[in-house]
């Protein structure tokens, strides 16, 4: 009797017991039906072969990991995203995080005005300066942010720049000069993915084609001036948090990565140089096995695209960075200590999925910017998994699980199908312009809310297991003096800088923007002359036009 026959026999013999379930159906968050039991027969049925589907870590198809050594060689980088108030305020928090054992360097949350290319003294920025991140209106603020933190000691610098990516890249190129630090002694990682801003995150302020040009100019310049940096982190996180399923998150992100890769190659960059400069960034929510499957499948699909579609000849070209953040969305304002368990499960899924870098949210993040206590607890979650559980002792410890391998295979096939659909629409840029991603994401967010409202989808502490006397948690409060400090600093800068030099650099930038040349050298010159974020963005708006929201009828 074959194993398949034996398994079918077992299912038949226990059909009555197997049909008595506490839930009507068992599906992953992306809607994949989960069987009661998985065996090698399930893998055999799908034509799964160890050599083809898994192989060895550090070798194609890279399902088991990008490097041979896994976490035995090096633990994941533990990154804590932070930022609020003025640069001086955020500087204190980064010093604290580094002291507490954060190994992911300095990961900078920018405030909304900065991300939108507005200076702190812009009337549109009022009330939002320093609220959701740190305000960086010029190089002077960046210098203050890194006061006492030399870039080589930070080791790694990340920021969510997106539509202001050229400015962010310029900050760190110029800061390295000023600090006298070799650019190869630290790595800069820039979330430089404007397409998904138009889809889900919402900090776009230029027409999409202009934003893509600026993104790709940044990549091409950084790849030659600072090889080893990651000038393009493409992110699915926000699409997922806006409503995309885990599978859509993976597929949409890869589709966007294809768009940037094609554009950079068109502009003359080789895949051998582009490949290692790329980071793919995702977020981890609560469907534990699906998340692990996603990270494994993404490695398989992306490295195959790099080889087959973009014709890479070297292993290095396939070595993108796999970066995962825990998601803020499943964190609840109700019974916030429950979030510690949620975050723990998410970090564990990332580690079992073989991510090289984790960014961990804090348990009070549904309420406010994290307190030091909550941020430290998140560092400890990573350290407990790293040092107490034994999880990092072997590479890809869940490899070979019948269930996980089935799910990983479903993900690889599902991503391929979705990529094909997007390809038929003319690629991700066209699909974004047509509103495809946006409507898919909104539709799914709505279905999920209906499921939560009906109780079909359980959120502990929100629609079940509620308490009436949820004790209030002490939350972080921004020192309102921070905004005044920021505004005073900017006013001083406007008075003290060499105005003629600033104007000259802005004119130079405008001319370059009107040509086909790479904007980066001109942006670097502006930053060096203490031209502000808002002044640079204003030139872009003047040359390229502005993003205008469109009303949508439901």
């Amino acid at each position: 009797m074959s194993l398949r026959e034996a398994q079918d026999g077992w299912l038949a013999a226990h059909s009555e017991e197997l049909s008595r379930t506490w839930k009507e159906s068992f599906r992953t968050s992306s809607g994949i039906e989960v069987e009661p039991l998985y065996t090698p027969a399930d893998l055999e049925d799908r034509g799964w072969r160890y050599e083809d589907n898994l192989g060895f870590p550090g070798q194609a198809p890279y399902t088991r990991g990008l490097g041979a050594g896994g976490y035995r060689k090096e633990l994941w980088h533990l990154e804590m995203y932070a930022g609020f108030g003025s640069a001086a305020d955020a500087n204190q928090r980064f010093r604290y995080l580094i002291e507490q054992g954060s190994t992911g360097g300095v990961s900078i949350a920018l405030d909304l005005p900065t991300q939108l290319g507005l200076d702190s003294d812009d009337p549109l920025a009022s009330e939002e300066v320093g609220q959701m991140g740190v305000a960086l209106s010029s190089l002077a603020d960046v210098e203050a942010l890194f006061d006492g933190i030399p870039l080589d000691r930070a080791g790694h610098v990340f920021t969510t720049a997106n539509c202001i990516a050229p400015i962010a890249a310029a900050w760190f190129i110029v800061l390295a000069e000023k600090q006298g630090v070799d650019k190869s002694s630290f790595r800069v990682q820039i979330q430089n993915d404007p397409i998904k801003e138009y889809i889900a995150r919402g900090t776009q302020f230029l027409p999409i084609d202009a934003s893509v040009r600026l993104a790709c100019d940044t990549v091409r310049h950084v790849v030659s001036e600072a090889p080893g940096w990651f000038p393009i982190s493409v992110s699915g996180s926000h699409m997922k948090q806006a409503g995309a399923s885990c599978l859509q998150e993976a597929a949409f992100t890869i589709a966007n990565a294809i768009a940037y890769t094609e554009r950079c190659i068109e502009d003359g960059l080789s895949i051998e140089r582009f490949g290692p400069a790329l980071e793919l960034h995702f977020c981890t929510e609560m469907d534990f096995f699906e998340e692990i499957a996603k990270y494994r499948a993404v490695r398989t699909v992306w490295t195959r695209l790099v080889r087959e579609r973009f014709g890479a000849q070297t292993a290095e070209a396939q070595h993108f960075r796999l970066h995962a953040a825990t998601s803020g969305r499943p964190l609840t304002a109700q019974q916030p200590l429950n979030n510690i368990s949620r975050i723990t499960m998410q970090v564990l899924a990332q580690v079992l999925g073989g991510c090289e870098q984790t960014r961990t949210a804090s348990f009070d993040e549904a309420l406010a910017i994290p307190t030091e206590n909550a941020a430290r607890t998140s560092i400890r979650i990573n350290q407990i998994i790293a040092h107490e559980t034994g999880v990092p002792f072997t590479v890809d410890p869940l490899g070979g699980s019948y269930f996980l391998e089935s799910l990983t295979d479903d993900f690889v096939k599902g991503i391929d199908r979705e990529l094909e659909r997007i390809e038929e629409m003319g690629g991700s840029l066209e699909a974004t312009k047509a509103g495809y991603f946006q409507s898919e994401i909104a539709e799914r967010a709505y279905r999920e809310q209906v499921a939560v409202d009906s109780g079909e989808q359980v959120i502990v502490g929100v629609n079940r297991f509620r308490v009436d006397d949820d004790p209030e948690l002490p939350t972080f409060e921004l020192d309102q003096g921070a905004v005044d400090r920021q505004l005073a600093g900017l006013a001083r800068l406007r008075e003290s800088r060499d105005e003629r030099e600033a104007t000259r650099r802005l004119v130079e930038l405008e001319n370059v923007c009107r040509s086909d040349d790479n904007v980066m050298p001109a942006v670097i010159n502006c930053v060096r002359a203490y031209v502000t974020t808002g002044e640079i963005a204003s030139v872009w708006k003047k040359v390229f036009g502005e993003y205008k929201p469109e009303a949508v009828r439901f």
Partner: protein, 164 residues
């Protein structure tokens, strides 16, 4: 919005009952998180209303003009940036100035209990923070619409609306 001075609500913008009621929902301020506002838009549509999502970063002036053009009875604002009170106040002021006080104003987002109190005091008709269900939001709007349909004035309708 509830009126700052007691007075009979003028519900002429509602039009005859056969005209579908229009709701404008929008983001104001700089935050671009619009999952919530789109979910609410879907929910209101399924409740039989005509919904226009105005998009990101709309100014109070733009909202006043969209609401007027669309002849909308309800405006829903979604604000997740923490600046919910000042941003809403600007919209309330603009709508008062434009004589759009009869538009039902609902605000959702990151709202602390203190923020909620301030918003209600400035005349906002409904405030929803994290954890609010879609049916609560839709329920409030449909109830408010019923209350605002022209009918003889009773004393009850004059309550609230005082300036905080």
């Amino acid at each position: 919005m509830r009126r700052s001075e007691a007075g009979r609500p003028d519900s002429s913008s509602l039009g005859p009952p056969s005209v579908p009621t229009r709701v404008v929902v929008s983001k104001v301020g700089l935050d671009g998180h619009d999952r919530g506002v789109k979910v609410i838009a879907h929910g209101l549509r399924d409740a039989g209303l005509e919904v226009i999502y105005a998009g990101l970063r709309r100014t109070p002036q733009e909202l006043a003009s969209i609401v007027t053009q669309e002849d909308a009875s309800v405006l829903g604002l979604s604000i997740l940036s923490g600046a919910v009170v000042p941003l809403t106040r600007r919209v309330v002021d603009e709508f008062r100035e434009q004589d759009l006080e009869d538009v039902i104003l609902v605000v959702g987002g990151i709202v602390s209990p203190a923020d909620e109190e301030e918003l209600l005091a400035m005349g906002v008709d409904g405030v929803f923070g994290p954890g609010a269900s879609m049916s609560e939001v839709v329920g409030l709007i449909t109830n408010q619409l019923e209350v605002r349909v022209p009918k003889p004035l009773t004393n009850n309708e004059e309550e609230g609306g005082h300036r905080g």
